[in-house]
């Protein structure tokens, strides 16, 4: 198939970027979206031009590195997948495809389509951990009885791969879905109770400091999340936050 790609090109963090048009032909249905970009980059390199920089690592939907806004939607038009799992059969001959970085003030562009998501790392570092005694008498996590329902919810929250699609989709560039998943995976488990109060306060505080927007419950994040992280986690985080604020 023949396509017109409209790709965001930006030399570095300080430069102004712009959309550049790239016609591309000979794209197969079975190619992945990233393979299509590989083909483009090979052509660019052969012509002596700068290849398009984009993030990727596992290419199987588990690492959370790939991050492209395709035709105005994070990870493209399909649901519950990352860009690396997106195939060209989702497009048709003659399509024009906009390819942009995930946009948020808290996710500055490094180059072209690659963004700096260390804001997420700092939110995680602020409280996304538990105290485990490792001095020889560590209790096996499986020895602690946990209700099945809670274990399932905690596991579902823990499947967040930190890709940032929730922020990219949100009209407010809010990081509530990500942060709430990281708060929930601990809040639901007995091991998470020790730091529970401080955790939610510290993580929300860090989230605010990074400059993410405020949630207005549009629900775009839940729809676009490749891992199907539920809005229930945001409600849970709000409850945890209120509880923690009252405790001080």
């Amino acid at each position: 198939m023949n396509l017109t790609l409209k790709i965001w090109r930006q030399k570095d963090a300080k430069s102004q970027g712009k959309i550049v048009d790239y016609p591309i032909s000979g794209i197969e249905d079975d190619m992945s979206f990233l393979e299509m970009l590989d083909v483009l980059n090979e052509e660019l390199i052969n012509k002596g031009e700068e290849p398009v920089v984009f993030d990727h690592d596992c290419r199987e939907g588990i690492c959370g590195t790939c991050s492209l806004q395709i035709n105005g939607q994070p990870h493209g038009p399909d649901r519950l997948i990352t860009v690396c799992q997106l195939h060209m059969r989702s497009f048709k001959d003659g399509d024009t495809i906009f390819i942009e970085p995930f946009r948020a003030k808290a996710f500055p562009v490094i180059k072209d389509l690659m963004i700096d998501r260390s804001a997420f790392d700092r939110i995680q570092q602020a409280g996304g951990y538990i105290s485990v005694n490792t001095s020889g008498n560590t209790v096996d996590a499986n020895a602690i009885p946990i209700e099945k329902e809670k274990a399932d919810d905690a596991f579902a929250a823990a499947t967040c791969i930190g890709c940032g699609a929730c922020v990219a989709a949100c009209k407010n560039a809010s990081a509530m879905l990500f942060t709430s998943a990281k708060v929930s995976q601990f809040a639901l488990l007995p091991q998470g109770q020790v730091e529970a109060t401080n955790r939610v306060l510290a993580m929300v505080n860090q989230m605010d400091e990074e400059g993410f927007g405020n949630c207005t419950n549009t629900g775009a994040c839940e729809i676009e999340c490749p891992k199907g992280i539920s809005l229930e986690n945001i409600a849970r985080m709000n409850r945890e936050y209120l509880k923690a604020s009252l405790k001080g």
Partner: protein, 221 residues
């Protein structure tokens, strides 16, 4: 006002609580208006009570005014902060692909409501204040119903009034159910609660519109 409440979640909860408070007020207002279409006497009696009772006048009314101002000022603050959180806009953004129009345009439905409230204050509240506290006119417990009818004589006024309530319905369609999520209420009862909120957001504004139309037609008969 945004500076007073530092955390994003505290702001979200404040927005939800002020919104819920306004929803509660709306229901009370609706109940009184509703009486006007079948009994001028009941309407007069209730209005006289609301207009002269010191608790309503000097405690509830200031709380309401504060609630309205808090809600829309906070709405503007949030809107500005949220716009600022994405400095460089997308060249192509498919907002409609993953979120409803009403949820993405609360500020616009809110602005229409604010414009309506301006008109409403000018129409009902300012004459009340002038009547009671500037002219010190003697209280006539039967004046309310004729005053009310008078406001709905003009078809243009009645039309604008109805249109504003369409926007209120849009605002509440997202806002009412959304406020449950904001205060952390999302559990097995949420499906029912959301249905109730959506029904409320249609029925009550529609009720206000019907009352306005009935009053308009009553007068012209």
């Amino acid at each position: 006002m945004g500076g007073l409440i530092k955390s994003s979640i505290a702001r979200k909860v404040a927005m939800a609580l002020s919104g819920l408070f306004l929803v509660f007020f709306l229901l009370q207002h609706f109940t009184i208006n509703f009486t006007s279409i079948f009994s001028a006497d009941v309407f007069n009696e209730l209005s006289h009570f609301m207009g002269t009772n010191p608790v309503v006048q000097f405690a509830l009314q200031p709380v309401l005014i504060f609630g309205v101002i808090f809600h829309f000022v906070m709405g503007f603050v949030l809107e500005l902060k949220n716009r600022n959180a994405r400095a460089v806009k997308y060249a192509k953004y498919s907002g409609g692909a993953n979120a409803s129009w009403v949820s993405r345009n609360m500020i616009y439905s809110g602005l229409v409501i604010l414009a309506f409230l301006g008109l409403h204050f000018y129409d009902f509240w300012v004459p009340e204040i002038v009547h009671k506290y500037i002219e010190f006119a003697p209280e006539d417990p039967t004046r309310y119903y004729p005053e009310l009818l008078h406001k709905f004589v003009s078809p243009v006024r009645t039309g604008l009034y109805a249109l504003s309530f369409v926007f209120l319905a849009l605002h509440l369609w997202h806002g009412f159910a959304s406020s449950f999520q904001s205060v952390g209420f999302n559990n097995k009862y949420s499906v029912g609660a959301t249905k109730f909120a959506k029904a409320f957001s249609i029925v009550i504004p529609l009720g206000f519109i019907i009352i306005a139309l009935v009053l308009h037609l009553n007068h012209n008969h």
